[in-house]
Point group: C2
Chain length 137, copies 2
């Protein structure tokens, strides 16, 4: 939890650029519940855009699959078949979307999934009734 800080709905109609507020992964009500407002749609689309790219999907899955759940750029550049600046760019997009966490340790930058971020994103796409079981007991 503490992942999606909904309810805020801060006024950012157009200027949802990279830095500053990370848009905190996702927001608000599942889209099948009620018609989304333009602002809500904009926020959700921003996060979904981060995920809607083959390279970034691969990078996300590779980070998750890494032993310890962490990976540095150098671990990813080879397998994904892109240059280092391109991978760096994609990781920045994912961090800005609130899906990855970046941890600089010495020369290396380690990335890991933000806990619950993908789940929160998935929850906005599916019906709330199906998301009722966070833990069966």
């Amino acid at each position: 939890m503490t992942v999606n800080a909904c309810g805020t709905l801060d006024p950012m109609p157009r200027s949802v650029r990279s830095e500053a507020s990370p848009t905190s992964a996702t927001c608000c009500s599942p889209l099948t519940t009620a018609p989304l407002s333009a602002a809500e749609a904009e926020r959700l689309a921003h996060v979904l855009k981060a995920v809607a790219d083959p390279a970034r999907l691969q990078l996300l899955s590779m980070v998750a699959a890494q032993a310890g759940g962490e990976a540095c750029i150098c671990d990813l550049t080879g397998p994904v078949g892109l240059t280092q600046p391109t991978v760096s760019h994609h990781m920045k997009v994912l961090v800005d979307a609130g899906l990855l966490h970046r941890d600089q340790r010495g020369k290396w930058a380690y990335f890991r999934l933000v806990a619950g971020a993908l789940d929160a994103l998935a929850a906005t796409l599916t019906d709330p009734a199906k998301q009722r079981h966070p833990a069966p007991a």
Copy 2:
């Protein structure tokens, strides 16, 4: 069910254009389970791209919120604030992604959500452990 016809993984490396096979909403394993192949990432990204747009998110939610779960273009053009051809274009993208179903009745084209398509998409983003309850009984 019968929504995602995974396991096929047909060879469509680049030419995943609009028509023909609708890419059936989503596919395959959740991305946190194992590193995605390039082909899997491409397919998933194709569906996510369809959703990663503010206008299309609004259209999806408006269709879902409509009485009867159906809407025609004329119901949507006004509220979303776009011209009729633009809305028509967006609806085509959503239909091609396997998220909407189109039903032509006379002069009108009625759209409704493909049952389970959004859920299947959400399931590929979240952890499989949380998706274990398709029906409690």
